[in-house]
């Protein structure tokens, strides 16, 4: 797979498992969607080798060449997904989770029935086109990280904003318990029921809304991969301010026409100023004035039990490296500490209660210097786990290594009441 240049390429293939018919291929190069296609013979061989193993009851899950990692995964014996990535710092963990998200996205928009009972391949291909935009957003450079962490991307609204009340009031008026307020694909606040949505839909729904072109309102049919994979629900979205959307998940009622401007005004006009204050939270995640150490260039905070995360590369935005690089460094670091250093996340594997209890008392930390080995250069990365929270920081090269741990501890303490 020799690629010229240093920009990594990702190819995603989707095939009907039984016939090997390709259903779609999506690619990205250097973080942007690309048209480039793999030759049919390569697709055939990649699928062939996986099928060959399966016939011998061998599960081929991944392979590596000099510059490319390949991961295979079959879903319900009906759909095979294959991903090839030559992106720097890619890993099996990242690609496996990517495939789970992609299949989740397919169920979300097409329904499990269509994917497991393929009666008409051509029709299915046509229906799957509805997923391209969402799937491309996983392959490209995204500001969100829920695809990797499997936690919901959230933001912390400014203090004193009373959205919770408006949200539950509005949801009740609309006749549903499932409502959330999103800014650029991140959850600002949500009702209890919305928070109880399972994985992957809890991550997929905000991501979907963030990936769609702007519309004043939508009535969007969705299947819930975990909660309702065969019966569609309706995702209603209402753009209160550009970038700030109110989402409701409901059954046949209410009709979209019922959620008219008068109803919106009644519930939301009083909080207009607080709503406006949420707009910069898109990339920033934390309210203005939240004290962060100036060495911090990027931050990823996970709450592994609530399955929520906070991800930002906005602090000290005027310095090197670029936001894309920062995201990339934190993503790779997350993958590394998750795959190698920290115990498995809850829900990933069965775990015993004692393990959790034990872990709660043992803070674990690790750090990494990225880039050159010369002293005083290279970005610092530090990870700290305390109870259900895991904090990853990207720090400037000037930050002294011996102070990393205490800096991370202090930052985590400051963030804990908010998250």
């Amino acid at each position: 797979m020799g690629e010229e240049g240093t920009e990594g390429t990702v190819h995603l293939l989707c095939l009907a498992a039984s016939s090997g018919v390709p259903l779609f291929c999506r690619s990205s190069r250097g973080g942007a969607p690309a048209r480039q296609q793999l030759p049919f013979s390569v697709i055939g061989s990649l699928n062939g080798v996986h099928m060959f193993g399966q016939n011998l009851e061998v599960q081929l899950s991944s392979a590596r060449t000099e510059d490319t990692t390949v991961v295979w995964k079959s879903f319900h014996d009906s759909i095979t997904l294959i991903v090839l990535s030559s992106e720097e710092g890619t890993s099996e963990l990242r690609l496996e989770r990517l495939l789970q998200m992609v299949f989740g996205a397919m169920v979300l928009l097409v329904g499990l029935e269509e994917l497991t009972n393929i009666s008409n391949v051509e029709r299915l291909k046509k229906e799957l086109r509805a997923c391209y935009r969402l799937i491309d957003s996983f392959l490209g450079d995204s500001e969100l990280i829920g695809d990797l962490t499997q936690c919901v991307d959230c933001v912390v609204p400014p203090e004193g904003s009373l959205f919770q009340e408006s949200l539950s009031g509005f949801a009740e008026a609309a006749g549903t318990a499932f409502a959330s307020l999103l800014v650029s694909g991140r959850v600002v606040t949500a009702t209890e029921s919305w928070w109880r949505l399972g994985t992957p839909e809890a991550v997929l729904l905000p991501w979907l809304v963030g990936s769609l072109p702007p519309q004043a309102a939508r009535d969007y049919p969705v299947y819930l991969p975990h909660g309702s994979p065969t019966v569609p629900h309706r995702l209603l979205t209402l753009t209160l301010l550009p970038g700030l959307e109110l989402c409701l998940l409901c059954g046949p009622r209410p009709p979209l026409s019922q959620l008219d401007p008068q109803l919106l005004d009644r519930w939301w006009q009083p909080s207009l100023d607080s709503l406006r204050a949420c707009l910069p939270l898109g990339p920033r995640a934390l309210p203005a004035g939240f004290p962060l150490h100036p060495d911090i260039l990027g931050l990823l905070l996970l709450h592994l039990e609530l399955k929520r995360c906070l991800f930002t590369v906005e602090p000290s935005g005027d310095k090197d490296p670029s936001p894309e690089q920062r995201r990339c460094l934190l993503r790779s670091f997350y993958t590394l500490v998750t795959a190698m250093h920290f115990p498995p996340e809850p829900g990933q594997q069965e775990e015993k209660v004692e393990d959790t209890a034990q872990r709660a008392q043992v803070p674990r930390a690790c750090y990494l210097v990225s880039g050159t080995e010369e002293p005083g250069t290279g970005w610092r990365l530090v990870a700290l786990q305390l109870g259900p929270r895991r904090l990853l920081l990207l720090l400037s090269a000037q930050s002294p290594c011996h102070g990393l741990r205490s800096l991370a501890t202090r930052t985590l303490q400051a963030l804990t009441p908010l998250f």
């Binding site: 509805a130 072109p213 004043a216 969007y220 309706r234 753009t239 301010l241 009709p255 979209l256 207009l272």
Partner: protein, 258 residues
């Protein structure tokens, strides 16, 4: 539906190009781009020129691929989709348009809410069509100049969709007019259709407009100039229909049959 008003009889046609009109249009622009409004927002005018807002719901109907989504995007000043992806479910788009009335010389802020729904969603989900039709003020029936079948489907659509909706504005829209060289719908067929149905007809081209100096962002003013005739026509028919419904002007259809 009332007999359509004569073009230009309700709305001053080129008002948006006058000094007063241009000044007024700045409230729907921001840094030379079209401004996008959230549902809690509306254009802000200086208090001295505070004007009334007239809100209308418009359902955009037509076969898959005729250009419904592209038309709405063009009217909203957004990027028009290049490749065709069928629209998933219903999507609505709000467009504000200030226009001047001929009779009173009053400026009115029109608020159009376009309802666009993918054809397969309409077929698959029973609740979609009623939601689109509910309390709609107008139907736009799209056909494409490059798709004969979409033109021939019009009578069927008119009865299927708007059959039992009296008092609602119905407008036929021929899309992809920029492809007129390759049209499958000759003028004489259009003339025959108009004689039978007596419906207003608009011709539109939903192609990307001029861009700003950065080469990427759409030029808001240029985009408005491209579509002003469409928005004025919508305003004209909807305002006229309201006047007739309120009994403010007699329904010409009743007074002068034929």
């Amino acid at each position: 539906m009332a007999r359509p008003p004569a073009p230009g009889s309700v709305i001053v046609p080129d008002w948006h190009e006058s000094a007063e009109g241009k000044e007024c249009l700045t409230c729907i622009l921001r840094k030379n781009r079209r401004r996008v409004f959230g549902l809690l927002e509306r254009p802000v005018l200086p208090p001295a020129v505070a004007i009334d807002t007239a809100s209308y719901k418009i359902f955009v109907s037509g076969k898959s691929g005729v250009g419904k989504t592209a038309l709405v995007a063009k009217l909203a000043g957004l990027e028009v989709p290049v490749a065709h992806h069928e629209t998933t479910g219903i999507q609505t788009t709000v467009v504000f348009w200030p226009a001047k009335l001929q009779v009173s010389e009053r400026v009115v802020m029109f608020r159009f809410e376009f309802w666009d729904c993918g054809e397969s969603a309409l077929k698959k989900f029973d609740h979609m069509l009623p939601a689109c039709k509910e309390k709609t003020d107008a139907f736009l029936f799209l056909f494409s100049f490059t798709d004969r079948a979409s033109f021939e489907d019009l009578p069927g659509q008119l009865t299927r969709i708007a059959g039992e909706a009296p008092g609602v504005v119905r407008i036929v829209v021929g899309s992809k007019f920029d492809q007129y060289m390759h049209t499958d719908v000759p003028e004489r067929d259009l003339t025959a259709f108009r004689q039978t149905w007596e419906l207003p007809l608009l011709r539109v081209k939903s192609v990307p407009g001029r861009r700003l100096a950065d080469g990427r962002t759409l030029d808001g003013r240029a985009g408005l100039a491209d579509i002003a005739h469409v928005l004025n026509a919508l305003a004209e028919h909807l305002w006229h229909q309201d006047q007739v419904a309120a009994g403010l002007i007699p329904n010409p259809a009743e007074n002068a049959p034929g």
